[in-house]
Amino acid sequence: MNFAFSEEQDQLRDVVRRFMEEKSSEEEVRRLMDTEVGYDPNVWAQMANELGLQSLHIPEEFGGQGFSFVELAIVFEEQGRRLLCSPYFATVALATNAILNAGTSDEKAALLPGIASGETIATLAFTEPNGRWDADGITMVAREDGGSWVLDGTKMFVIDGNNADLIVVAARTAGTSGEAGISFFTVAGDAKGLTRTALATMDQTRKQSKLEFAGVKATPLGAAGQGWSALSKTLDQAAVCLSNEMAGGAQFVLDMSVEYAKVRVQFGRPIGSFQAIKHKCADMLLEVESAKSAAYYSAWAAGEDNEELPVVASLSKAYCSDAYFHATAENIQIHGGIGFTWEHPAHLYFKRAKSSEILLGDATYHRELLAQRIGI
């Protein structure tokens, strides 16, 4: 048994941490979140060309480096610390995993090298206006028309939907329900009949879109009607990635709170000497350390691709969601009035925590899913 990162993994963390500190400063986050695209194409290119982040866990045969989810988790944790504004989560956690799980060898060979090189920004469109994260939430119907597949309907909350060159879509064949009849398709971002609308997001650091499909021609990805197990696994893997991102953000706001509690003086002494503040920080540390344990363990399970993954993915998503939100809320409280201002970064983390909690299903959803998965 060994629950530690290797020396190489620690080195990767150092490199990514320095990169994020430099490229995703608070000032830069604020600049990008106020733009419609919400990311910096130069940074995106550097992530691909200098650090190889987009290709990290793509197998070598498809243009990647063949690392595991443990390395990927490190990258997400470091991005989470700095609230990186980037289509990285959509491209790597969602679209890449969907293609890896659902695609045939030929399809992977066609789609993944572009992602690995940073040329292709991709996303996964599966949520709809009903806001559900399960199989029943997918109502978009794919029909065959003269030898090709056509999509009609609306996808919502599509992360970086406006930025994506490649959109992986989950839809179902007419007359099916639940987990049966779900298929994956790919659609180009500029496909005819596709209307993309940027949404006004509560969390400005991660962009979302509404995608309206009106007779959009789509290319099948994987076996028709057999997509649910691949989609379910993709959502579990994405939950693992997001959990690590949340753990990174939670650690960052804890550090912020502790630093402030050491220097802010009231009643003639640092507020961190009062138990009211000290105990909040202690509870935050307990939750942050526990979130990391869960997130790291789930990354290992995802890397092993073992039978534990569904359980630990839901476990990790539920725990990290609550821990991150709690940490960001306490961070505002500990900072007092300044923590409520626009100029202080506390609200950026608070909003990111809430949006991350809701994306892929909130803690309540995942606890229920977990109950089912452990046979309650």
């Binding site: 048994m1 060994n2 990162f5 290797s6 526990s290 344990s293 476990l315 606890r367």
Partner: protein, 395 residues
């Protein structure tokens, strides 16, 4: 990062399993895994079982070989405890002697002291109790008032200890006493080893809310112990006492989650039997408890990895204590929720009796767990000050 056993770990696990399957039989197996160090059910059989463990050096397995130990490393200790819990083996009695006193003795004792006491702990001929808390020294442990003065070749001890688990069963007590007259706080304390069977020691049971009386008050009235039975230097007792607390909060909880998992499984089974498991709030609660016990396991593995690479557990053990005690307390409350109206009834009561079934036992005994071995509030202070580096309380 790899959570599988190494080949050496797997071989050791096999050895433990084989030993347990050959020895945990008959009346020993019938005891089951319930109870704890503060639980006297099946006492005589449990003592016999403990002696069987000691005979084959599973008591004191971490000790150096020259004192009869197996010199096992942390991973092996955790593997032993895991297999022990999985086998549903009886709750251990020698917690205070083997778990708390022995590691302190190995760290601070002289060769003579180790040779005198360790074999008797291993053979389970001598049990120990912990003389720390006093009526005015609870969370503020350094406020102990029990005094010890030298009289020729002996220390003469006067004062009162409280919450002394199993004092009525123990042959020895490790006592924190003030040996420097007029001293206050951490200074002037010594860590004395005091025999319990003498006229100057009086033990009065303290009945708890659970109805049973594993705790005691211990009164020292001119009690005596030999001058050489001080652990560490005279006047340096605080450091020794703190080392013991480190062991108390340390590795023990790493395998505790296995017993907790079993309790949770039993609660889930009851919920499935009475239909509560179909209710959304109960499902949320049970899933949340499951998440907690798994995270306890992950945290334990991370801490163990740290321990193996750095050799010390440090104040982060406070996180473990805070986590498990709160988790278990909530589990007890949820067990009552699952029972519904069945929670209104106990096994028996009246005429001086008050006996609890297992779920009620969890519900009530867990109220002590967030208090003993450093209350949750003290753990939060330790985490805040020693892990996060926040300024100390004005004292």
């Amino acid at each position: 990062m790899d959570f599988r056993d190494t080949s050496a770990e797997a071989a050791f696990r096999d050895e433990v399993r084989t030993w347990l399957s050959e020895n945990l039989v008959g009346e020993f197996a019938a005891l089951g895994g319930r109870g704890g160090p503060a639980d006297e059910r099946g006492w005589d059989t449990r003592i016999e079982w403990e002696r069987t463990l000691g005979r084959d050096r599973w008591v004191g397995m971490s000790w150096p070989e020259e004192y009869g130990g197996r010199n096992l490393n942390f991973s092996q200790q955790v593997i032993f405890n895991e297999e022990y819990a999985k086998a549903n083996a009886p709750a251990r009695i020698s917690f205070f002697g083997e778990g708390l006193f022995a590691p302190t003795l190995i760290a601070y004792g002289t060769h003579e002291q180790k040779s005198r006491f360790l074999p008797k702990i291993q053979s389970v001929d001598e049990l120990w109790c912990q003389g720390y808390s006093e009526p005015d020294a609870g969370s503020d442990l350094s406020n102990v008032a029990t005094r010890a003065v030298r009289d020729g070749d002996e220390w003469v001890i006067n004062g009162q200890k409280v919450w002394t688990t199993l004092a009525h069963r123990a042959q020895w007590c490790f006592v924190v006493a003030r040996t420097e007259a007029g001293s206050t706080g951490h200074k002037g304390l010594s860590y004395l080893l005091v025999p319990m069977d003498q006229p100057g020691v009086e033990i009065r049971p303290l009945r708890q809310m659970t109805g049973s009386a594993e705790f005691n008050e211990v009164y020292f009235s001119d009690a005596r112990t030999s001058a050489d039975l001080v652990l560490g230097e005279v006047g340096d007792g605080w450091a020794v006492a703190m080392a013991t607390l480190g062991f108390e909060r340390g590795t023990a909880f790493m395998s505790q989650q296995l017993a907790f998992q079993r309790e949770l499984r039993e609660i889930i089974e009851v919920a499935q039997g009475n239909g509560r498991s179909k209710e959304a709030t109960t499902r949320q609660d049970l899933a949340d408890s499951y998440i907690g016990v798994q995270i306890m396991k992950y945290n334990g593995m991370r801490m163990l990895t740290d321990l193996v690479s750095r050799g010390v557990i440090g104040p982060s053990s406070s996180i473990g204590k805070l986590f498990w005690s709160n988790w278990h307390r909530t589990l007890g409350e949820r067990a009552m929720d699952v029972l519904g109206t069945d929670a209104l009834l106990v096994a028996s009561e009246g005429n001086g009796e008050y006996e609890l079934e297992d779920f009620h036992q969890i519900f009530m005994s867990s109220r002590a767990e967030t208090i003993y071995a450093g209350a949750s509030e003290i753990q939060r202070n330790i985490i805040g000050e020693r892990v996060l580096g926040l300024p100390r309380e004005p004292r």
